[in-house]
């Protein structure tokens, strides 16, 4: 599903923030990406989500070599990836419902077709009574749940989450991880960047650890 070969990344003329990163994410896998702040987790996620081009190396996503894929193919590849951003990136002028429905609108869906799914999903993340609320009126935890609902609503093939439980209490955090696990059970490949090692407990997963831009540890939890 995702293949990195000797990938390096630097911003402008700065130092390399990722060096010689090589790994493969198999379809249906569940992976935790760990490492200290500044280790390169967010940059690695940006490369997986086709938000940035690598400075060197080869990235293959869904069988497409990103160095040679046609530009007009990229949006379709991006639509197969759901992303939970660390800073949520909700649109403040849209309601929770419309924020969650955004990927479906982008995919060309009609409100009549997706309204029920969006309602159900928001209810599942505990926001069934806040459908019309705008993000500025939501707490940090509620915003995070809206961001997660938005990332999973289109049933992506690959789900990328950057610190998805950073602003929620333990109970909600566990519930969200169960949601990710359920999606994974249904076939979605999941990558979660976190430094909360407790999330990895009770989850059959693989861990990739970044240290100073290098992938130094690969571990499987069963």
């Amino acid at each position: 599903m995702v293949r990195f070969e000797n990938v390096g990344m630097r911003y402008g003329a700065g130092p390399e923030v990722l060096r010689d990163v090589t790994f493969v994410l198999e379809a249906g896998s569940f992976t935790f990406l760990t490492g200290l702040s500044g280790a390169g987790k967010t940059t690695l996620l940006k490369l997986i989500t086709v938000a940035e081009r690598p400075s060197r190396g080869l990235i293959t996503l869904f069988g497409h070599d990103l160095a040679t894929v046609r530009r007009k193919t990229l949006p379709a590849l991006r639509r197969r990836v759901g992303v939970v951003f660390q800073d949520f990136r909700l649109l403040d002028h849209l309601s929770a419902f419309d924020n969650v429905a955004l990927p479906l609108r982008i995919a060309g869906g009609q409100p009549a077709d997706y309204a029920l799914d969006v309602d159900e999903l928001l209810s599942w993340v505990g926001l069934g009574d806040r459908l019309g609320a705008k993000p500025p009126t939501l707490s940090g935890g509620e915003q995070q749940r809206v961001a997660i609902a938005r990332a999973v609503v289109a049933k992506p093939d690959l789900l990328i989450a950057d610190e998805p439980t950073g602003n929620v209490d333990a109970e909600i955090g566990a519930r969200l991880i169960r949601l990710f696990a359920e999606l994974n059970r249904l076939g979605t490949t999941v990558v979660i960047a976190t430094h909360d090692r407790s999330l990895m407990e009770n989850t059959r997963s693989r861990e990739m650890r970044l240290v100073d831009g290098r992938l130094v540890e690969l571990r499987v939890r069963t």
Partner: protein, 294 residues
Amino acid sequence: MNEAILPRDKGAAPLDLMIAVMAFLAALALGASLIADRAAQNWQNGLAGKITVQILPPQRGDAGKTLGAETQTVLGILRSTAGIARVNALSQAEQVKLVQPWLGTGNLVSDLPLPQLVDADIAPGSDVDLAALSTRLKQAVPDAVLDDHSHWIGRLRDLAHTFMWSAYGVLILIAVSMAAAVSFATRAGLDTHHEMVALLHQMGAQGGFIARAFEWHYFRSTLVAAAAGAAFAALLFMIAGGLQFAGVEAVPFLPPLGLKAQELLWLSVVPAGAGAIALVTARLSVLAALRSIY
């Protein structure tokens, strides 16, 4: 639900005002071109099919008697010419009235030796050989000059056409300015909503999806602002027409400045055109900007 993806810009009022003013000026230019076109048609219709023979007053002898005889000769020639439907020698009072706008109503007019004017109408569909008629008149009355008004009609038509093309030029300039303003506003909007555009892009939105959010946004705001500007211009044209209807004297030699109902409808072209310009300009600007993003 299903709200507009692009929020209404809080700082959009100056752009709306500028669009409204440009639409107002465009509607004035369009209205002026319609008035010029109508005036050209009226002048053409008023003078076409008419000829005038001017008999200059003789310098010697009994001028009045000679002029009278020459007038009768001219009338006879005109009446005997095939295709001439009506012939009329203007009375002294009618001729004095013609020169009153220039010379006033004092004694000067009655003291001046005025030429005798003879009007004639050419029957519709008739083909009168004006050159031959002019020669016959000259031979019979050397002081007679035939004027078929083609010179005047041509000059008035040229004047009206010059005015119309100038108005079209103004319209084009306004359209270009409007496109530049919307392009600038779109780029500013892209900067303002950079994070939103980046998010939509990241979520796999095609360029067309993002462009649509911007183009409809600017189409709607431009349409409303331009409609307001054009409506204000239409109101001025209606007031101008109303003043004339109320008996306020129009400027001499200028056509009426009011617009008829069907001509007022033409002003709706301005907001429609402005909206289309905004739509296309915003789309092209957004697509160009998106090409620079990975």
